[in-house]
Assembly symmetry: C2
Homo-oligomer: 677 residues x 2
């Protein structure tokens, strides 16, 4: 069978869908994850994990409070550590990622920042000598660390951080200090209760001069008692929209002293006498940011995929209302409105994942170029990933919520788990650079590009903005995908030029650069979004064109057709020079027939993400008299047996531990009894 998710005993409504699929889902997984090997390893790792009962969630995560979530995360970290060698190749980044996604879930855990922020910060900013001192300890997990930069009153604008590190030659120490409440470090992951060390960013002051933000290695807690050191205020910032298994924290210093050698001094140094030694080249290195944002597109695409797996499977099982056959209710997936809600998001999930992989490759190439002394691609890629991060997180959030609502009432239950996925995903609109700020960073690059063209320097444009210099030509939308790209190019080009012109005119009218920029800001963000969506569309088409397997290519072209029609409709008002009212009507018709074409492959397309029931969460160990290891999953379960498991899940939920809640006896019964008097 082409769809590899089919098993005996499944809900026949799902099997029926899977039998309709026209392509091999294992082969599609290889396309999605970039290689047959990785796709296979993902399956093998999931399979191996499922054989270790201690790695399963002790209860459905939505039943746990924050204490229990943090505890559960810590417990699993310990179990993973025991089994890691048998489960994965530890040198393989993707295998490790998959293991953590599968076992730890997405709600955060005490080591969430240790590997992805703390150790990379040490690697990049500590000197070789400091590496010897701390890097091994960190890698062996003798210490737990985090990265503390953001403050309560200061996010995007690093120049205004308030925490100070003042050098005292007398004792050769830095004195860390939090001068105001707004200077408290706020938000760093794993800072609140887990970490005993941190890389802290503070303003380096020496010999009376402030040299701006620098990284310091700081011990926060006693290594044997874990109690915070004197003059350090540290704690958890409280419950959040999601990530409640993580202990994002606050941190304040009251004249806290650290040795001079704790300034991470790979780049800048302070001599014993307090003289400051500048880093060799002051050029900002954006590469860490580019790396994180490249991975975000793939990660966010995967979160959208999670929600779609749940919603599409459920829509093939849920029956409601009638169409032709009046003897049985139809699957809600047969409604055009349901398809319109879900299928364009399936296309986006694929597109975003493909885009993410492409930018990761561009990033890897950039690293090689930079090593060879060529930094020319840096600003191009920095701009692109800023826009991509912003556009992808926005549509992922939208798509997840639509997937949740497509599940009707049960989508609103935590048994669907989709609202948790939404909470995790939507955080991406804010962290790693707030979306509006990101769009305006890209806009700066677009405006600069248009200015280059205006001053006759088109030849200097990066490849991603070359279309900005192209002349506008007539487009015949009936000629296929290339024409859609041309329409999109026109829209993006027109908007970039229009926003730049407006910006220039406002400056000519006497406004300062900052004021004029602010007065064009919304138009500039529109230009950035169009530029990014164009890139996504082009990447999607390019990736699909490169595929040789006919069956896979066929269904991906169906998906591309959904995508381009949906996208061009959505940006119609920016391209009216090329699409008339009548043409828009006809694009709408094409969109509806593309939904229809995709319908038989909908379930196979989401099965191809090969996200295990465990990774979809709402997983539980059911305790009965005879067994304690049955997994209970709910709305998105592979086997489609939604209803009986929904009932099991509800019965196991905390409020059902007793027939009568104590609060009923305490308050409600006495209210009723009094009323009877």
């Amino acid at each position: 069978m082409l769809n590899k998710s089919i098993m005996d005993g499944d809900n026949p409504d799902l099997t029926e869908e899977r039998m309709k699929g026209t392509f091999d889902t294992d082969e599609m997984a290889a396309v999605i994850y970039g290689s047959e090997k990785l796709a296979r390893r993902r399956r093998e790792i999931s399979e191996a994990i499922s054989r270790i009962p201690e790695l399963a969630d002790i209860k459905p995560l939505p039943f746990l409070d924050r204490f229990e979530k943090v505890t559960e995360g810590s417990r699993k970290l310990a179990v993973i550590k025991e089994h890691v060698k048998e489960l994965i190749d530890e040198d393989n980044y993707e295998e490790g990622l998959h293991l953590y996604h599968e076992v730890m879930g997405m709600e955060g855990h005490p080591l969430a920042l240790h590997e992805v922020m703390f150790i990379p910060a040490l690697v990049a900013q500590a000197s070789d000598e400091q590496h010897k001192k701390w890097l091994g300890r960190a890698k062996r997990r003798e210490i737990i660390g985090c990265y503390a930069q953001t403050e309560m009153g200061h996010g995007s604008n690093l120049r205004k951080l308030e925490t100070t590190a003042t050098y005292t030659p007398a004792t050769q120490e830095f004195i860390l200090h939090t001068p105001t409440e707004t200077a408290l470090k706020w938000w760093p992951g794993a800072l609140g209760k887990s970490s005993n060390w941190a890389v802290v960013v503070a303003n380096l002051i020496t010999n009376g001069k402030n040299y701006g933000p620098h990284p310091f290695m700081v011990q926060l807690r006693d290594e044997s008692t874990h109690i915070p050191l004197p003059e350090i205020t540290v704690g958890d910032i409280g419950p959040k929209m999601a990530f409640n298994g993580g202990d994002n924290g606050f941190l304040g210093f009251n004249q806290f002293r650290i040795p001079r050698g704790y300034l991470l001094d790979r780049h800048a140094k302070v001599e014993a006498d307090g003289s400051y030694v500048k880093p060799p080249h002051a050029k900002i290195n954006h590469s860490a940011m580019i790396r994180v944002r490249s991975h975000m597109a793939t990660g966010q695409g995967a979160l959208l995929a999670h929600a779609l797996v749940i919603a599409v499977r459920y829509s093939a099982v849920r029956r409601q209302g009638f169409l032709e056959d009046k003897s049985r209710e139809v699957k809600v997936l047969d409604y055009q409105t349901q398809q319109h809600r879900l299928f364009p998001s399936i296309a986006r999930a694929y597109a975003f994942i493909f885009c993410g992989f492409e930018t990761i490759q561009l990033y890897d190439q950039l690293l090689i170029d930079v090593k060879n002394g060529d930094t020319s691609g840096m600003s191009d890629l920095h701009a692109l990933t800023s826009g991509l991060k912003s556009v992808v997180t926005h549509y992922v959030g939208q798509g997840i919520e639509q997937a949740r609502m497509a599940c009707g009432g049960h989508g609103y239950s935590m048994a669907s788990y989709i609202s948790e996925i939404y909470g995790v995903a939507i955080g991406g609109c804010t962290y790693e650079g707030e979306n509006m700020v990101m769009l305006l960073q890209l806009a700066r690059y677009l405006v600069k590009s248009v200015e280059q063209i205006k001053t006759g320097k088109s030849m200097e444009l990066g490849p991603m903005v070359a279309y900005l210099a192209e002349p506008d030509t007539k487009v015949d939308l009936t000629t296929g995908l290339a024409a859609y790209v041309k329409v999109f190019q026109h829209a993006a080009r027109r908007q970039a030029w229009k926003a730049t012109d407006k910006f220039h005119k406002l400056m000519e009218s006497g406004q300062s650069r900052d004021i004029a920029w602010n007065n064009c800001a919304v138009e500039l963000t529109r230009a950035s979004r169009l530029h990014t969506r164009l890139y996504i569309m082009e990447t999607f088409i390019r990736r699909v064109s490169s595929i040789s397997d006919i069956a896979i290519k066929k269904v991906l072209i169906d998906l591309v057709n959904v995508h381009v029609n949906y996208e061009v409709l959505d940006i119609g008002t920016y391209a009216l020079e090329h699409v008339s009212s009548t043409q828009l009507d006809s694009i709408r018709s094409q969109l509806y027939s593309s939904l229809d074409t995709l319908r038989p492959n909908a379930v196979s397309l989401i099965d191809s993400f090969q996200i295990s029931d465990m990774q979809l969460r709402s997983v539980s160990t059911r305790h009965t008299d005879t067994q304690t290891d049955t997994l209970i999953q709910v709305l998105g379960r592979r086997d489609g047996h939604v209803y009986p498991n929904l009932f099991e899940w509800a019965k196991a939920s905390p409020l059902n531990q007793t027939h009568v809640l104590p609060s009923v006896n305490q308050y409600l019964k006495s209210m009723m009894d009094k009323a009877k008097l």
Copy 2:
């Protein structure tokens, strides 16, 4: 001072904003709430509540687990009962509503369905004799009830409910039974743990014939022990996206017997011998649904207002980055992108609240008409409220999330409380009629209207669809608001006709009515949205035009200008016959200048909602050595002192009860210790 929220000791950033306001916020509140008296009573009730410490939340609600939330709700119900007479006029619906909103919050409580569903169901469906038996008991709260209709497998399609009530003449009883798991009652509010009685909807079967869904009065739990009666399975359905202070429940019957007299028989009866007596007229009475949906527009508008109060105040206090003055960071409210995120939502909040009040008035008029035998307005209003419910909930959800993101990182903390408001509001997209289903109900009415016009019966059209028959005339957008309405009418008319034509053509091509309808469904929902948004725009303009106070009218016209420019831009592609690419550009410019015009009144406009700090939640009693009654509020607080209170809030949060979490000692310390060996 015009802005009545100014007090000594406030954050000067907020006071500065309030001083700029050009209108009296008390007078605006009177406009928002429909009368000076109600606006004043709201303030008085809030003030009186704040003087009763037992009515305050014992802790910030986000710190509580579900047990604690349900307990807190029960506790407050008891306190309210003691004080209700001194706080409000119990006969005044709005005063009661305000009291409950303020004290109970929005997360649900054990009596949430008793007053709004259970008692109205008894009133409408029980006979006079049954009223004597149960209505007094319910009103005195001797019993707690709910309304159980939806089943696990059956929502919108009532005809497919599975629960049966089979009459047995031998014992003169109905036997209630749940034949399958999907037949379990699922979702009813307050069913899980609180209610001891319920109105249950089941298929009435007598003499071998199924007469479809009928309401039955059913005792669920023993009145003295509160333990579920034998053959009844009842419990809580588990955690949800929000409303976790409420105990939505499941309910199953195993051949459970109730007396014949427990069929609520105001309309239909079953005689002792089992013969069924039809209700006098079988016409469906939509009035209960119309009432609930009318109130939803106002209630949802208020939820959007909550989020905006928080986001706009915080944006006036949060400073980040620079514009002209490089000596101090600017308020983020000065960024055009921030204004574009927030101000169109302020306009919508006003528009939705005004719309809600207008439909409530239309509903009251309808009740009078129906009493006088005129039911002609019923379908008009039913269609309107279906669309309104759907459009309003969609944009309210969107607006709340934008408000949250406008608060940056702190918006993501539960200290902002906005994600809870979002969770509560977004449920409205699904309950009381899923939005897509609602839009298609309205579409049925629109298609019928177009068909009437086509067959020369335009004279029979209801007033709300009269524009569908009007000829298209040239529009000059520079002539003011009326022209914007004309553009919108054109768009709504064009889409309604286009969708109807498509529907007819598909039927002519041989598709059955149901299949053809499904193949036009997305186009039909587009028609419904445009129709509804047109109504909202017209109502907003009409309401503002009727205002006599010059200062109030002036700022509301500014708000209308934001609204109409934003709306017409958004639906541009549906009105290309009247708006060119150049005109859209100029509407964009007008939108930006309308944001600019509104800027000085932004804070006063949201202050005018007069939502107290308590109603905004994140309220807490702070326990210090000397006092236990200081309220702690965070991001949206009236006084603008955000940062110190954010710190207090975090310090009080559950994870900070100890320096070292037990899970650290249990798992993480041993991991670190082992690594050191």
